[in-house]
């Protein structure tokens, strides 16, 4: 860490190393920087423009979510998880609710499961759209941002109509859903799917074959599948490196086993492949939504759970495939109304660890592209 206060005053006796025979330059990027997606601070060691190594300084957004959990009841903590990955709040809620349901040994009714899947996949879509817009903006294409935000707005409208909130939705409850869906929910979702399909082609038209986009993303931030596994990197980043692994298929939760979809993978593990994988994932999400909206069964949306939840003593680890990777909850219960310990396994936090490896020997401008392609949300990194 470099603290500006500790920089020594001008020393005239030692030779000046800032010119010609300079080997290394240490620069500080962030925490207030337009391309760090929040308050990430990266300390770069440079040789000219080449990155020799970097160190992430995180924690600027630390709110002690895990500590809060120990001081709230199971139900009270539910809205807090939305504030971690705030662009994919629904996924966070799904993971938490399912973890507690497992601890309580209850299962949400099928109708609730279907609606959960629809909302979660819509949220994955929204998260990927936000990623695409900001990532393209970092690389200098300003227009996709507005296209994606226009279409994301439609998703947020559906969320708003369903639960009254757009971003931090608190959509799910332990044991199912609090509310039945509003009239016309299916119609809204169907028309959204119809609306957004050509829009994805539109994004691709702007970027996929754009020469500059290719030059900026191909071969940038390469990471192999082996390195991904060793570093615990999950989600689209892992899949773009050629590992066909998706928790929705590998260890199906909710009722994902009822739906047909593919796991898109890449080959080279570079920024371009990650872009393609996420674009394909958006299409797969639409496929799941289409199937789910056709098959919503009738029935209750809430399982029988006690008003005051006291799960039996024990512990459980439950993870889901969030838009950014494996989102896990490790919950320890001591039989009281409050969780004894909640550990969140945040995908962004673990994925961010790979930044150093991915940026080695790349140029400074690539660091920005790689931060963008990792798709981190600082709320989740710092919790």
């Amino acid at each position: 860490m470099i603290d500006p206060k500790t920089v020594s005053p001008l020393d005239l006796d030692t030779p000046d190393k800032t010119f010609l025979d300079a080997n290394e330059l240490v620069i500080n990027m962030g925490p207030q920087h337009p391309a760090t997606h929040g308050v990430l601070r990266v300390i770069l060691r440079l040789d000219g423009e080449k990155v020799m190594g970097l160190e992430c300084v995180i924690g600027y957004l630390h709110r002690g979510v895990e500590k809060i959990a120990e001081n709230r009841t199971y139900t009270m903590f539910n809205p807090y998880v939305d504030r971690m990955d705030y662009v994919a709040a629904v996924s966070n809620g799904l993971g938490y609710c399912e973890a507690i349901e497992k601890l309580l040994s209850v299962e949400a009714p099928p109708r609730a499961q279907y609606i959960r899947v629809i909302l979660t996949e819509l949220n994955r879509m929204a998260s990927h759209q936000l990623w695409l817009g900001t990532h393209a903006l970092d690389i200098g294409a300003i227009t996709p941002l507005f296209y994606t935000f226009r279409d994301r707005e439609e998703i947020l409208k559906i969320f708003e109509k369903y639960c009254g909130a757009r971003l931090t939705t608190h959509a799910f409850r332990i044991g199912g859903l609090q509310y039945e869906v509003y009239d016309g929910f299916e119609k809204d979702v169907r028309s959204f799917v119809k609306f957004v399909k050509p829009k994805i082609d539109e994004y691709e038209e702007l970027l996929t074959t754009n020469r500059i986009w290719l030059e900026r993303t191909k071969g940038v931030g390469v990471i192999s599948g082996k390195d991904c596994i060793a570093l615990g990197v999950t989600g689209p980043v892992l899949r773009a490196s050629g590992v066909q692994w998706d928790l929705r298929k590998a260890q199906p939760y909710a009722n994902y086993k009822n739906f047909e979809f593919d796991i898109p993978t890449g080959k080279n593990g570079d920024t371009y492949d990650r872009y393609l994988v996420r674009m394909a994932e958006m299409r797969q999400s639409l496929r799941i939504i289409e199937q789910a909206v056709e098959g919503i069964p009738e029935g209750p949306v809430m399982a029988k759970v006690p008003k005051v939840m006291k799960p039996p003593v024990g512990e459980v680890y439950h993870s889901i495939e969030a838009p950014k990777g494996e989102l896990g909850y490790f919950v320890v219960s001591d039989g009281s109304t409050q969780p004894y310990r909640v550990r969140v396994r945040p995908p962004s936090f673990v994925n961010l660890q790979a930044l150093d490896l991915m940026c080695r020997d790349q140029l400074v401008a690539d660091v920005i592209a790689v931060i963008g392609t990792l798709d981190i949300v600082l709320g989740e990194v710092d919790r």
Binding site: I27, E49, G140, A141, I142, L145, F146, W213, V364
Partner: protein
């Protein structure tokens, strides 16, 4: 007193006063004022148009609140910028910090001294016109470098270094393209010339825009220039010095208020300046379309009516939008403003129809229309392209544009020397060169 008035009247009546001619100080002064005012208006209009066009490309509306369809937005911005506190950072080198924006603006405006808006519409005509333009526009680098250095801050410094490296590199390719166009002038009646007016006249005499001359050499030269000029002016996709996601705002990060607006002014007038060079060298400058093929009084009349028609069309669009404004008391002033603006445009259009005016103005109109097309291209690039990385930018400049430019220069030279036998040789050889280059890079 009477003598002076007589002198001025006789001066005004002289027909043979041409730009750069003897004793043309009066008209030069008039044109300096006209160009200065026109350029400021153009920059203001460009500001509004860029925001509007970009917004519509990006499914937004852009400025809508200040005046009808945001027409007064640039004026509001200008007032805001002038009233804003002008901050000079404590650690900055105050003198250099103060001087830098003036260097940039001075360079950007001085270029227009030799821009020919018409055969008689120019401040002056120099026999080294194009050289003067390239030279003076290269001086704006100095302002940018000193601005970045004087801010005494990291991002501006990196932005300034990037900017100057980029401008110096692309100037080379730009120069090569320009030289190939100058070579083409030697086939005109007067022989080779560096004068901006002479270059356009040469295109008229050769009955061909240099864009289509020696196909495909003219197109290639124009292509090189069109790429290099975007890099010269630090615009997307070569806007690395101002790369917002990397360097916040590049060399003018620390500037605010009036001084910042000078950079803004300079950037846009530099864009107009390089577009004028491109228009003059390859697109026939002030020449209307088909000046040779479609000549004769009927065609002359038809083409001279176009400027007026264009303004009337704009006025009609204004009235159409006036009719579409919401019928609500809150919008009354806006609606009236839009109608008034339409009326103003229509009035200009009608004035342009007048016989005395239309002949004099049509040159300027065609020149401005061609430049406007370039301005639209600039905005279009910004809406569609991501940004190049610095090494890629340098590679494009030095390894692609420069070799192509050199080859182009040789080919043009040979062609101009009337080595007609080579006609069958040069084109295949040239295409082969391009193929080879593409293979290598």
């Amino acid at each position: 007193m009477n003598a002076i008035i007589d002198y001025i009247q006789s001066y005004l009546r002289t027909k043979d006063v041409t730009p750069g001619g003897d004793g043309n100080i009066f008209w030069a002064t008039v044109y300096i004022l006209l160009v200065f005012v026109g350029l400021s208006v153009a920059v203001i209009a460009m500001n509004w148009l860029e925001r509007k066009i970009l917004a519509h490309m990006q499914v937004r509306l852009g400025p809508m609140r200040v005046g009808p369809h945001g027409l007064l937005q640039p004026i509001a911005d200008a007032i805001k910028l002038l009233l804003k506190e002008d901050i000079i950072p404590a650690e900055a080198d105050a003198l250099v910090f103060w001087v830098a924006p003036f260097i940039v603006v001075l360079a950007a405006f001085t270029v227009f001294v030799v821009v020919p808006f018409g055969p008689e519409h120019a401040i002056t005509d120099m026999n080294i016109g194009i050289l003067f333009m390239l030279g003076v526009s290269s001086l704006s680098v100095l302002g940018i470098v000193t601005a970045g250095w004087a801010s005494n801050s990291h991002y501006p410094l990196i932005g300034a270094l990037r900017s100057s490296a980029q401008m110096v590199s692309y100037e080379v390719a730009m120069g090569l393209a320009v030289v190939s166009a100058i070579m083409m002038t030697s086939l005109g009646e007067k022989g080779g010339t560096l004068s901006m007016i002479g270059i356009v006249e040469s295109q008229y005499q050769q009955q061909e825009w240099f864009l289509f001359k020696f196909f495909p050499l003219g197109v290639i030269a124009f292509g090189i220039f069109a790429i290099a000029m975007v890099a010269e002016t630090n615009r997307a996709p070569f806007d690395l010095p101002e790369a917002e996601s990397e360097l916040t705002a590049g060399f003018h990060t620390e500037y605010s208020g009036f001084r910042w607006s000078l950079f803004f002014l300079a950037e846009y007038s530099a864009m107009i300046a390089v577009s004028s060079i491109a228009v003059t060298l390859w697109l026939g400058g002030w020449l209307r379309p088909f000046p040779n093929a479609l000549s004769g009084p009927t065609w002359e009349l038809a083409f001279s009516l176009v400027p007026g028609l264009a303004f009337v069309f704009l006025a009609a669009m204004c009235f159409y939008n006036t009719a579409r404004m919401p019928k609500h008391p809150l919008f009354r002033i806006q609606t009236m403003g839009l109608a008034g603006f339409g009326a103003l445009l229509g009035l200009i259009g009608i004035v342009l129809f007048l016989p005395g005016v239309r002949e004099r103005v049509q040159d300027v109109f065609w020149f401005a229309a061609k430049v406007a097309a370039f301005m639209y291209l600039y905005i279009w690039y910004r809406g569609t392209f991501p940004r190049y990385r610095f090494d890629q930018l340098m590679r494009v400049g030095w390894k692609v544009l420069l070799p192509i430019g050199l080859g182009l220069l040789i080919c043009t030279g040979l062609w101009v020397m009337r080595v007609e036998v080579w006609h069958e040789v040069i084109v295949p050889a040239w295409l082969g060169c391009i193929g080879l280059l593409r293979r290598i890079f």
